[in-house]
Structure formats: C-alpha cells, structure tokens
C-alpha cells in the first residue's frame, strides 16, 4: 500500500475527531453554539474528502471494479447530500424532531450496511472478536434504522395511534433472542462465512424487531425514543469503526453513544419516567375505562374578553405547547405579549421540559419568534409563581398541564411533573376543539371552575386578542 495517502487519511481523521469534540463542546453553550456546528461541519468535510484517498489503497480483488466503485461512491455521496440538504432546508421548525429521527435512522442504516458488506465479504478472514462486534453493531444499527423510521412516521402523522397485541413483550423478547441467536450462529458456527441468505434473514429479523419495539410506544414518549436511537446509532457507528479499524468512527460514534445515552436519561427524568418504563410499559394502555368521571362543564370565553382581562391583570403566565407551533402563532403571541408588557403587565413564559416534541423544542420555537430569554422560565423555576398569577394562558398544550398527573393514580400520565396552571386565579385555554392530548387522556383542567376555554385556531385567537387590546388603547 502506498503510505502517503494513508498518512493524509489518518491525519484528516485525527483532525476530524478533534473538530467533532471541540464543536460539540462549543454547541453546549448558547453563546458559542452556532460556531460549534460549523467547526464540526469542517471536520466532516475534511474526513469525507480524505476518504476518497482510499482509492489508492484498495484490495487487489477490488482493483478491477475501482472505476465503477468510484462512480458509485461519488453518485451516492452527491445524491444523499443534495437530497438531505434540500429536505433539511425546507422542513418547518415544528417538524424538526421527525427530521432528526429520519436522518438518525439513515445513519443507523449506513452502519448496518457496513456490517452487511463485512459479513458478505467471503474472501476475508474473520477473527472472533471483530466478528462479534460486527454482529452487535449490525443489530443495533438495524434496530435504529427501522425504529427511527417508525418514530418519524408517527411524529409526522403517517402512522396514527399505537399498535399493540396481547403478549407483545413476549413476542418481542422471543424475536430478539432469535435474532441474537442467529447472529451468534453466524459468528461461532459459520465463522463469518454464512451464506448470503442467512445474513439477509439476520438483518430482516433485526429490522422487524426495531419496528415491533417502536410500534407500541405512544407519541408522547417519542422524543425519548428518538434520543435513545440516536445513542444506538452512535454505538453502531463506533462498533463498525472498530471493525474497519477507523479511529474517527470509533471516537465520534462512542462520544455520541454516551452523550446520547445521557441525553435520553435527562429527557426521561424530565418526564418522570424511566427509560425501561418508556420502552416496556404500554403508555396509555389503560384506556378510557379506568379514568374516573370528570365533574363540571367546559365554559367558553371570547378571545376579546380574555385579552381585556389580561390587559388589566398584573401578572400573566403563558404556557405554550406544540399546538402553538402548529398554528404558527408564536409571532402573533409575542406581538400580543409586547402590548401587555407595554401596558405594564408582568408577563412570563413557562416551558414544560417536554413542551413541543422534544426537550428544548419550545425554546427554539419561541426564539424563532424573537422572545427574549429572560422571559422564558423552566418548570422548576416558575411553578411556585402560578399561585400569584392573575391569569395563566394555556396555548396548544394539554398533557403538560393536566392536574391528573398530580392526583389521579389511575391516569397513565400520573407522576409526570406538570405546570401548575390550575393554581392561577383565572385560566384561559386556547384550543382548537375539545379533543384529547397527545397521550389520549382527558384533561380535568378544562372542566375546572376557574378555567375558560377560548376555542379557535391559535393564530386567529391571537389576532383577535391583539385587536381587542389595541381598540381598548385607541378608545382612550
């Protein structure tokens, strides 16, 4: 092998590994975050360009195919990059979580593809440890691929509801053991020279397992699941990096593997659920029959009346949810809030850890509308203040403000920390209809005595509220 190209490749990978870690470090603070992704991007560019130098060191067996392979590689790289660039630029901010899931699944698929090529390379001599690592990486990567695709489809509304059968956990467990068993068969009985059919069955089973594992998980838990699959893909990439003896893949993969695991635990903690609880318990499976009758009736209020009420309040807290973002009402909301603050009303935003579709998603959406940071408060920091608030406004949120999480032990969301909006003197809930939240649970907040419902599209309601306050000012 020619040494010179290999030296350049190694140096590039070293640079890439450094730039990834340095970039992630910069991304962990709001001030430097923007430059962090650029730094990591440079690392990716350097590593990808350097990987073309593999051309100078290919196996003898691959020499006759080299021209074809180079064309294939350039085509795949170009098509994949352009498609993802285009789709990433086009996607709405609200749809960001499912896009992350989709790209993550692609990474898992790529790791699985590397493993597949390795297992099908009949000419190669395999030793046991790399072979085990290959199989494990293949299994994790495949599960991440099919699982992420299901998560994407669920969040994107392409699959609605959850899909469960009796004894599903037993079926999943059996399928997992079967897949693992076949993997061990490939390692220890076939020594990595299994027939392509056996390898194909192995990958097929792993993919099916990913689907079955994700299907029963409810939409509200999807952020945790995506984060988990993100960590999975990282691990798979790290393992396949070991198989290919590629330190850049090993380091980047393992850094993401551990960072993703920690992120998953943080998210699960924010929802007061353990990760195993998310994956194995059938969230919301208790259904309607276990929920007690809810007393009281829903009262409707006009947007204008609510707005005037807020204008003369001294303290108003907004609890925005995903519905706000869907209606694209962030900008109008902030316009309304500016009217209130100009009139001397103290306004704060209360963000539930899982508001939106991922932790921090709502912060991103509010930042997009230009809401300054010092108005936005986390759940722990603001929950005590609802008692002193004259008005709490819930916009497009549901499960994150459901008091049943505090009191009703039979409720599927029992134990999840919620925003204590019900403790405010007056609660307005801006909502399109009388439907249930993402978890499929009825919300007794809507029936409380101090709650009034403002029905309508969040954006239209905000416009009506702005007009009402402006008319009031104009009348003076």
């Amino acid at each position: 092998m020619n040494l010179q190209p290999q030296l350049i490749i190694d140096a590039s990978y070293f640079a890439a590994a450094f730039l990834f870690i340095y970039g992630l470090k910069r991304m962990s603070s709001p001030v430097t975050a923007r430059s962090g992704i650029v730094v990591a991007g440079v690392g990716m560019l350097v590593a990808t360009l350097a990987s073309f130098l593999y051309v100078f060191g290919v196996n003898e067996a691959a020499q006759p195919h080299l021209t074809t392979n180079i064309i294939l590689a350039a085509t795949a790289l170009g098509v994949g990059t352009l498609w993802a660039w285009w789709s990433g630029k086009r996607v709405a901010m609200t749809a960001m979580p499912q896009m992350v899931a989709l790209y993550n699944g692609m990474g898992g698929g790529a790791a699985a593809a590397i493993a597949a090529v390795e297992l099908l390379r009949t000419s190669a001599t395999h030793t046991t440890i790399p072979l085990i690592v290959t199989i494990v990486g293949a299994l994790i990567g495949s599960v991440s691929l099919s699982g992420s695709l299901i998560a994407w489809a669920k969040l994107d509304g392409k699959i609605n509801g959850t899909w469960r059968v009796k004894g599903q956990q037993v079926i999943n467990g059996a399928l997992f053991l079967l897949t693992l068993g076949l993997g061990l068969f490939i390692v220890f009985a076939e020594h990595g020279h299994a027939s392509p059919q056996v390898v194909a069955v192995f990958f097929g089973l792993a993919l099916i397992f990913g689907v079955l594992m994700t299907m029963p998980i409810g939409g509200a838990d999807m952020p945790v699941v995506i984060s988990l699959y993100n960590a999975f893909t990282g691990l798979a990439v790290g393992f396949e990096g070991y198989v290919l003896q590629n330190p850049a893949l090993m380091i980047a993969g393992m850094v993401v593997g551990s960072a993703g695991t920690l992120l998953t635990l943080l998210m699960a903690k924010a929802m007061n659920r353990s990760v195993s609880n998310v994956i194995f318990s059938n969230f919301g499976a208790t259904g309607d029959e276990s929920q007690g009758e809810i007393k009281g009736t829903m009262k409707a209020a006009e947007a204008g009346d609510a707005a005037v009420n807020m204008r003369y309040a001294s303290k108003v807290i907004f609890a925005p949810g995903y519905g706000l973002a869907v209606a694209q009402a962030q900008h109008k909301l902030f316009e309304f809030v500016k009217l209130l603050t100009d009139a001397g009303v103290e306004v704060k935003f209360a963000i539930h850890p899982v508001a939106g579709r991922m932790p921090g998603h709502m912060n991103v959406l509010l930042a997009e509308a230009g809401v300054p940071y010092d108005m936005i408060y986390d759940l722990e920091d603001i929950n005590e203040e609802f008692k002193e608030a004259d008005v709490a406004v819930v916009i497009g949120a549901n499960d994150t403000v459901n008091p049943a999480a505090r009191t009703n032990k039979s409720s599927p969301i029992y134990g999840m920390p919620i925003l204590n909006v019900d403790q405010a003197r007056q609660v307005y809930v801006i909502k399109r209809g009388q439907g249930k939240g993402y978890s499929g649970v009825e919300n007794e907040l809507f029936f409380a005595d101090n709650t009034s419902m403002v029905y309508g599209d969040a954006q239209k309601v905000m416009v009506a509220m702005i007009q009402a306050v402006k008319q009031l000012e104009g009348g003076h």
Binding site: L24, G36, V91, V100, G238, I251, N363
Partner: protein, 106 residues
C-alpha cells in the same frame, strides 16, 4: 486490512472508554434549552459513518457489495448533510438579541 495503525484489544477499549467519558462530560452540564439542538448536533456527528461506508464501497468486489455499499454511502451522506442543515438552522436562532447591529453590517 493493512492500515498503519492497529486498534485491537485494549487500545480499542481505551479509545472507547475515553470517548464515552468525553461524551458524558460534554452533555453533562448543558441547559435544557440546548437539548434539542444538541441531540441534532450529535446526530450530525455520527454522520461520520459515511466515511466507513465509502471504504466499504470502494473495496467492494461483487454486485451485492456494491449495492449495499452504495446504499450505505447514500444513507450516511444523508445523515451527515441533513444533520448539519437542521442543526445549523436551529442554532441560527440563538443569535444575541441585538439584531440591529447585525443588519447594519450587511
């Protein structure tokens, strides 16, 4: 594989261990507002898998290997490029609030 570096046995374990701690330390003290961008950012970083897929494809000897390698590079490139664009778009919003000076420069 006759690369100049061999990362077997304990050397590989050391790399994995140190990398795992690095990832843990980086995420450990992050404010909640950055969880989504960081998930997306780490999603971008494992897009480096495209490099491994490139190696597999360039060394492919049969049609099956070429097809799978092609898919691998395609998916890996999508992971890297998509992860970058989405993360960058999210972090773009974390600019400091004095937008006026920014516009003035342009």
């Amino acid at each position: 594989m006759d690369l100049t570096t061999t990362l077997t046995g304990f050397v590989a374990l050391y790399i994995f261990m140190l990398a795992a701690f690095t990832g843990y330390e980086i995420i450990g003290r992050v404010p909640a507002i950055l969880h989504t961008p960081l998930m997306s950012g780490s999603n971008f970083v494992h897009g480096i898998v495209v490099v491994g897929a490139m190696y597999a494809l360039l060394n492919a000897t049969s049609t099956v290997e070429q097809v799978i390698g092609f898919i691998g590079v395609l998916l890996g490139a999508g992971n890297a490029a998509g992860g970058y664009v989405v993360t960058e778009r999210m972090l773009e919003m974390f600019k400091p609030s004095d937008k006026k000076s920014d516009n003035a420069k342009k």
